[in-house]
């Protein structure tokens, strides 16, 4: 025996629709957790990551300790998957601190609320936003789209670093956009691979007037958080799951937009349809010329003129612009 369960309120319905699988997905949300033991450094890391992602509700931070989250152990991810489904987050960052793995940060991704892949990072050196003063003048706007700069061939040659590169891009890239305000570029994540270490710097961008070229000169200011990272354990996605997750939607033909045309010279041109104007019934000021006697006299005059043959000519020009079709530049 089955029955249909519907959401009881419109709000709940909207919520479910928001969480449903979509062709064009929304920004991946990040959840931040800590284990039973964590150092002040790792707590700072977590709160700074939260600060970076929280704009637009793209981050959820849990304040309680999590005993049963052990990402790299068998069955230790059930709790994570439950929380992911509950908060609709597909990225997670889990911070712990132990003697064996001091200042440990596990970052990972989910697919359909199941763990896809993870990387365990050791934070060797850390400068928080507060320590660097947030860059003050160069402080980036909350939720702006960041740039990424990756340096070093290890990001290509070493598989775990290639993995990290993809993961970092997925974590911080924000919304996929078609257009961007170039003057609004105000932050960059700099990742540099040197041997086993990775330097990760979050910098603000200052655009200054350039002497050499017509484009502005870029200056970078460290605004934090800044890490020195070493990679510990990692788990790659299983091949079939990754293939499943990389599926692309079939590109559907764009719906034809009516009455709007593109023109390389004039730009966007729209067409407006106006209803016929009823001039006859309009209340206008009465004028002498419109009085009946004068109208009749004028009609008689016109009739007399009609006897002589009428001139030919400007009919085609009038037909071009009918009163119902008027072009307007948008």
């Amino acid at each position: 025996m089955l029955r249909i369960v519907k959401p009881k309120t419109k709000r709940a319905k909207r919520m479910l629709e928001k969480r449903a699988p979509k062709v064009d997905e929304n920004v991946k949300r990040l959840m931040l957790l800590q284990g039973t033991k964590s150092s002040s450094l790792i707590k700072n890391v977590i709160s700074d990551l939260y600060h970076l992602k929280k704009a637009g509700g793209a981050a959820v931070k849990f304040s309680r300790k999590n005993d049963n989250v052990r990402p790299f152990e068998g069955g230790g991810e059930t709790s994570l998957e439950f929380l992911s489904a509950k908060t609709d987050c597909s990225l997670f960052a889990f911070g712990t601190h132990s003697k064996k793995r001091p200042n440990n940060l596990v970052i990972g991704r989910m697919y359909d609320h199941h763990v896809l892949d993870m990387i365990e990072l050791g934070v060797d050196k850390y400068q928080s936003i507060a320590q660097l003063g947030g860059g003050r003048k160069a402080a980036p706007q909350e939720g702006s789209k960041p740039c990424f700069a990756f340096l070093g061939d290890a990001f290509e040659s070493k598989p775990e670093l290639a993995h990290l590169k993809e993961m970092l891009l997925d974590f911080f890239r924000g919304e996929e956009v078609e257009t961007i305000n170039v003057g609004g570029l105000d932050r960059v994540f700099v990742c540099a691979a040197a041997g086993d270490k990775v330097y990760l710097r979050h910098c603000g961008i200052e655009l200054k007037k350039s002497d050499e070229s017509k484009f502005p000169r870029v200056e970078l200011v460290e605004v934090g958080p800044c890490f020195d990272i070493s990679i510990r354990r990692s788990r790659k996605p299983s091949e079939d799951l990754r293939r499943e997750a990389m599926k692309m939607p079939l590109k559907t033909a764009k719906k034809k937009v009516k009455n709007v045309k593109g023109d390389s010279l004039q730009g966007k041109i729209g067409k407006i349809y106006m209803p016929k104007q009823e001039v006859e019934g309009m209340a206008l000021a009465k004028m002498k010329g419109l009085k009946r006697e004068r109208r009749q006299a004028a009609a008689a005059k016109a009739a007399a003129a009609a006897d002589t043959p009428a001139k030919e000519g400007d009919g085609s020009v009038v037909a071009e612009e009918t009163p119902t079709q008027k072009k307007a530049r948008l």
Binding site: M1, L2, R3, I4, V5, K6, P7, E17, R19, A20, P21, V23, S90, R109, Y111, K145, P146, C147, F148, A149, F150, L151, G152, D153, E156, P159, A162, H163, K165, E166, L169, D170, R173, E178, T179, I180, N181, V182, G183, G184, V190, A192, Y199, R201, C203, I205, L207, F215, V218, L220, E222, D228, P237, E239, R242, E244, A245, M246, K247, M248
Partner: protein, 378 residues
């Protein structure tokens, strides 16, 4: 390590797709605002920042070269689509499988045709909506229904309209459920619309017509506890499942009443025993002869026989009119046949027959006529 190789291959293939910078060979993904320099070498973090500045400068220059529109807020650049492919968050939405009707319509070649939202209403001389509030031919707004020859007597057409509507709604709901079930069976959980779920109701008890109440958590726990102790050893030697907890309510399968009664009341146990005794004695009651009871029983039987003979002789019992005429309620515009009068006469005959068998023959027949007459007049 297959997946790692896969990653590496992917990144190189992306590399080829990047636009080449004339001065440097940076790998750029403008859609993600990413720039990658595999050739970069540095000795300290400070130096790497200087390198990164160059990279970002190159990226910025490239962005300024892209086609743009100048707006009040600044220079809006159209970005190319990102070249680095990243995994999705959730699977692609599945198309809804066709319903049974849609399958049938496709087989038969039935096509949907568009109908106007408005329809002309002859009765009110207005354009009205086809469906919904203030619609054309709204059943709820009809003041009367004309009677027809085919109308069944005793059926309220207004009630019938209502019940028919209810039936239609119930049927639609049933169809919807079966369609959803088929969809879930075919395409799994993802095939259902995101806002709907199918939930199990509790199983009906075989043989009972009443739907079972859904058990709450405590009740389920209690039932599980009872089931786990329903073995010869009381569940003592049963293997526990991992994570199974001790039964919630144990012990007490029987309850005994107190032997001594409370103040002003006799013992309940005594009462119960008394009840049992009287039941047993009643079963063997026929063995004990009560003369008085036998005589009265004989008298009643005799009386009954006499009454029957009377009836056979032609005496019909008292007739009484006791039917309700429902047509009166709706002002008699529908249902012109007065089914009520017939029913009333019949029932009167039945009820009157046994009550007063003697001496009221003529009076009874007269009453019956009168009753029928009055019903007709209504």
């Amino acid at each position: 390590m297959d997946s790692s190789e896969d990653l590496a291959i992917e990144s190189t293939s992306n590399h080829e797709a990047y636009a080449m910078q004339p001065a440097d060979l940076y790998a750029m993904d403008l859609g993600n605002l990413m720039v990658f320099d595999p050739r970069a070498s540095f000795s300290s973090p400070a130096e790497c920042l200087e390198k990164a500045r160059e990279l970002i400068q190159a990226l910025s220059d490239k962005l300024y070269e892209l086609p743009a529109t100048v707006d009040k807020v600044g220079r809006l650049v159209t970005l190319p689509p990102p070249t680095t492919r990243l995994p999705r968050e959730k699977p692609l939405p599945k198309p809804r499988p066709p319903t049974k009707w849609e399958q049938f319509a496709q087989k038969k070649g039935i096509k949907k045709r568009k109908r106007s939202k408005l329809e002309y209403d002859d009765q009110t001389d207005e354009w009205r909506r086809r469906h919904g509030y203030k619609r054309v031919n709204d059943e709820n707004q009809i003041p009367w229904i004309e009677a027809r020859d085919t109308d069944e007597p005793g059926v309220d057409p207004f009630e019938k309209l209502k019940s028919d509507k209810k039936e239609r709604v119930a049927k639609q709901e049933k169809n919807q459920l079966s369609n959803l079930k088929a969809a879930a069976k075919k395409g799994g959980k993802g095939a259902l619309p995101s806002t709907l779920q199918l939930a199990a109701t509790s199983l009906p008890i075989t043989g009972s017509k009443t739907p079972t109440k859904r058990m709450n958590k405590d009740e389920i726990g209690f039932a599980a506890g009872l089931a786990s102790t329903a073995t010869a050893s009381g569940g003592k030697f049963d293997k526990k499942l991992p994570g199974e907890k001790a039964p919630k309510q144990t012990g007490k399968h029987r309850k005994f009443l107190p032997v001594v009664g409370s103040k002003g009341q006799s013992s309940k146990e005594k009462e119960q025993l008394g009840n049992v005794l009287s039941k047993v004695l009643a079963k063997y009651n026929h063995d004990i002869l009560d003369v008085g009871k036998a005589v009265s029983k004989y008298n009643v039987e005799e009386e009954g026989k006499r009454a029957q003979e009377n009836k056979k002789a032609g005496g019909k019992g008292l007739r009484k009119f006791s039917g309700k005429d429902r047509s009166a309620k709706k002002g008699g515009l529908f249902n012109k046949k007065s089914g009520g009068s017939r029913a009333g006469g019949g029932s009167g005959g039945k009820s009157g027959g046994s009550k007063k068998p003697l001496g009221t023959k003529s009076a009874g027949s007269f009453k019956g006529k009168a009753g029928g007459g009055s019903a007709k007049r209504k």
